[in-house]
């Protein structure tokens, strides 16, 4: 999967938008690193063994899918159950991928799939914050690559540390909580108008209310609820909602 760097223009690394994309990811990289570490420890402790844990981290590259499949692999569940579980846990990415089309639809299929593969949740969120208008422009791919490169290292390096040092990392530290706080800060940074506040509160409530659903489907339910509420607000307020003062 390392061919990606050669796929777009070779000078992409020096593009100012590459640096900007990387820099805007650094703000949340501590949270990503915390999760990478926790996931690495969890892989080794599930009994997967170091070589297979390394393989999984490097090629699966999706924390929640890895964590969901570990107990299934450990208990010898049928392969289709492992894969179907992972697919459901990843359903949010299917929703996100619909939004990439206007930006990357003009690239070759190989590049489109390669870009999709490297897109973790936070890459999607931060890219959409930077380019809210769904139309392509030349600085998007460098910006995107800067973000995914930062994310890849911020995730894989701590994940390897977790895999190899699983036994010497105390589990009661609550390291994963740093990741939650990173997401909390990022969530706040996306709150702008009234519609965004309301849809976020609806999503939070829906996710808690539907928490008992299996396979993290509460997140899909929460997205659907927030989109529905957002559309209702858009339609009842005639014009796109005017930016309001923060409620702070």
């Amino acid at each position: 999967m390392t061919e990606l760097s050669e796929a777009p223009a070779a000078a992409v690394w020096r593009h100012p938008e590459f640096r900007r994309g990387a820099k805007e990811m650094v703000g949340v990289a501590l949270g990503i690193a915390a999760w990478g570490l926790v996931t690495g420890v969890a892989m080794t402790k599930s009994g997967l063994g170091v070589p297979l844990s390394v393989l999984m981290s490097l090629i699966v590259f999706a924390g929640s899918s890895q964590l969901a499949s570990l107990p299934l692999i450990a208990s010898g569940a049928p392969l289709w159950v492992v894969w179907a579980t992972s697919f459901c846990v990843n359903l949010r990415f299917v929703i996100f991928s619909a939004q990439w089309r206007p930006y990357f639809g003009g690239l070759s299929r190989f590049k489109r799939i390669a870009l999709g593969y490297f897109t973790a949740d936070l890459n999607y969120v931060i890219f959409m914050r930077r380019f809210p208008e769904p139309r392509p422009s030349p600085e998007q791919v460098p910006y995107f690559l800067g973000g995914v490169a930062t994310n890849w290292f911020a995730w894989q390096v701590p994940s390897m540390v977790g895999i190899f040092l699983a036994d010497s990392i105390p589990t009661q530290w609550g390291i994963g909580f740093a990741g939650t706080l990173a997401l909390l800060g990022l969530t706040y940074s996306l709150l702008s108008d009234r519609a965004s506040w309301i849809s976020a509160i609806v999503a939070a409530c829906a996710a808690v209310a539907a928490y008992a659903l299996p396979l993290k489907l509460n997140i899909v339910v929460a997205i659907a609820a927030a989109v529905a509420v957002g559309l209702v607000i858009d339609h009842t307020s005639q014009r796109p909602a005017l930016p309001e003062e923060d409620l702070t």
Partner: protein, 117 residues
């Protein structure tokens, strides 16, 4: 599961990552989506984040927490205050983590309970 079966499982999981993350990017022709869906999707990034964060803050072992002594609540409040004061995510993480480390509440989230990326 034998080692080779586990390898097959892991390779399959990698394919699941590729297919789900690039789902609507795979066909050469754009899959037509209704206009209201496209419009509504702009609420999806924020919703996904809020949906991952909220249960991590207010739930424990699948139930709403029923004590205000939970260290996570104080950490979240401190982080929130810091964010709206400085608008800086790195500081938000550090403030909340430091607070959680010193608060005299019950244990924090254990590895394995987090949502991951």
């Amino acid at each position: 599961m034998s080692t080779w079966e586990a390898v097959v499982a892991i390779v399959g999981l990698a394919l699941v990552t590729i297919v789900t993350r690039s789902f609507f990017l795979i066909p050469d022709r754009e899959v037509p989506l209704p206009g209201w869906v496209k419009q509504g999707l702009r609420y999806a990034p924020l919703a996904a984040l809020a949906a991952v964060v909220a249960p991590e803050l207010v739930m424990s072992q699948g139930h709403l927490i029923h004590t205000l002594k939970d260290a996570r609540l104080y950490a979240a409040l401190t982080s929130t205050a810091y964010f709206f004061w400085r608008r800086d995510i790195l500081g938000t993480i550090l403030t909340g983590t430091a607070d959680a480390g010193t608060a005299a509440g019950p244990r924090l989230v254990k590895p394995g309970e987090t949502a991951g990326s």
